[in-house]
C-alpha cells in the first residue's frame, strides 16, 4: 500500500485553523440562537420585576471590558510585547472570574425569586448556565495560553495562533452575551 504525504506548511495550517474556528462559531451561534428563541417562545416578553438590573448591567460591562484586555493581549503577542501580553491576559482572566462571581450572585438571588421550577427560572438558569460554562472554559483556555506563553519568545509576530484563537473564542462568548443580556434583562 502506498502512502501519500501531504505537506501543509505553518502558513496554510493557520489559514485552515481560522476557517475551522469560524465554522465552530457558526455551530455555537445555532446553540445560543436556539436558547434565545426558547426564551421568547416560553416566556414571551414578560420578565419578573425581581431581576437585578444593575447587576446585569455591571456584569455586561465587565465582560465587554474583558474583550478590550483580550484584544490588547493579542496585539501585544503579535508585536512580541511579552509584559503587555502577560499583563492584559491576566486582567482578562480576572475579569472573566469576576463575571462568574457576578453570575453566581445573580443565581443566588434568582433562586429566591424565580427558582428553576418556574417558567422564567427555566430559561434564565439554562441560558445563563450554558453561557457561564462557556466563560469558564474560556478562562481555562486563557490560563493555558498564559502558562504556555510565560516564556519570552513563545508567541511572536510570526507565530501566535494559540493566543489569537483563544482570544477569538473569548470575543465570541462576549458576542453571545450581547444578545442574551437584552433578552433576559431588558425586554419587558
Amino acid at each position: 500500500m502506498s502512502t501519500i504525504h501531504v505537506h501543509v506548511d505553518t502558513h496554510d495550517r493557520v489559514a485552515i485553523n481560522k476557517v475551522g474556528i469560524w465554522l465552530f462559531f457558526l455551530g455555537e451561534t445555532f446553540l445560543f440562537g436556539a436558547l434565545i428563541s426558547v426564551c421568547y417562545y416560553l416566556q414571551g416578553v414578560q420578565r419578573p420585576d425581581d431581576l437585578d438590573q444593575y447587576l446585569g448591567l455591571a456584569i455586561t460591562g465587565i465582560l465587554l471590558l474583558s474583550s478590550l484586555t483580550a484584544y490588547r493581549a493579542e496585539v501585544a503577542a503579535a508585536h512580541g510585547d511579552q509584559p503587555g501580553f502577560l499583563r492584559n491576559l491576566s486582567v482578562t482572566i480576572l475579569l472573566g472570574l469576576l463575571f462568574l462571581v457576578g453570575v453566581g450572585w445573580e443565581w443566588y438571588e434568582a433562586f429566591l425569586h424565580f427558582p428553576p421550577s418556574t417558567g422564567f427560572g427555566t430559561v434564565f438558569f439554562t441560558t445563563t448556565g450554558i453561557h457561564a460554562f462557556h466563560v469558564l472554559t474560556g478562562v481555562i483556555a486563557l490560563l493555558v495560553v498564559l502558562f504556555t506563553g510565560r516564556h519570552r519568545g513563545r508567541f511572536n509576530s510570526e507565530s501566535h495562533w494559540g493566543v489569537e484563537g483563544t482570544v477569538k473564542y473569548w470575543h465570541f462568548v462576549d458576542v453571545a452575551w450581547v444578545f442574551i443580556y437584552p433578552t433576559l434583562y431588558l425586554v419587558s
Binding site: 469560524w22 460591562g61 474583550s67 478590550l68 484584544y71 470575543h171 437584552p182 425586554v187
Partner: protein
C-alpha cells in the same frame, strides 16, 4: 511599544468606548420605551450593532477574505 501596536490599542479604546455608549443607550431605551414590539426590534438592532463592532474590530472577520500576510 511600537507605533503600529499603539495604533491598534487606540482602536481598541475606540471600540470599547463605542460599546459602552451603545450599552448605556440600550439600557435607556429599555427604560424609556413602552411599546413592546418596538422595544424588542430596537434592542435587537442595538445588539446587532454591538455584535458588528466586536466581530469586525476585535475578531477581524473581514480579514478572512483577505490574502494571508507572509
Amino acid at each position: 511599544m511600537n507605533s503600529n501596536q499603539g495604533k491598534k490599542n487606540r482602536r481598541g479604546f475606540f471600540v470599547i468606548g463605542a460599546l459602552a455608549v451603545i450599552t448605556a443607550v440600550e439600557f435607556w431605551v429599555a427604560v424609556a420605551f413602552t411599546d413592546i414590539t418596538g422595544l424588542v426590534v430596537l434592542l435587537l438592532a442595538i445588539a446587532l450593532v454591538k455584535c458588528w463592532f466586536i466581530v469586525d474590530y476585535f475578531m477581524h472577520i473581514s480579514r478572512l477574505w483577505l490574502p494571508e500576510e507572509n
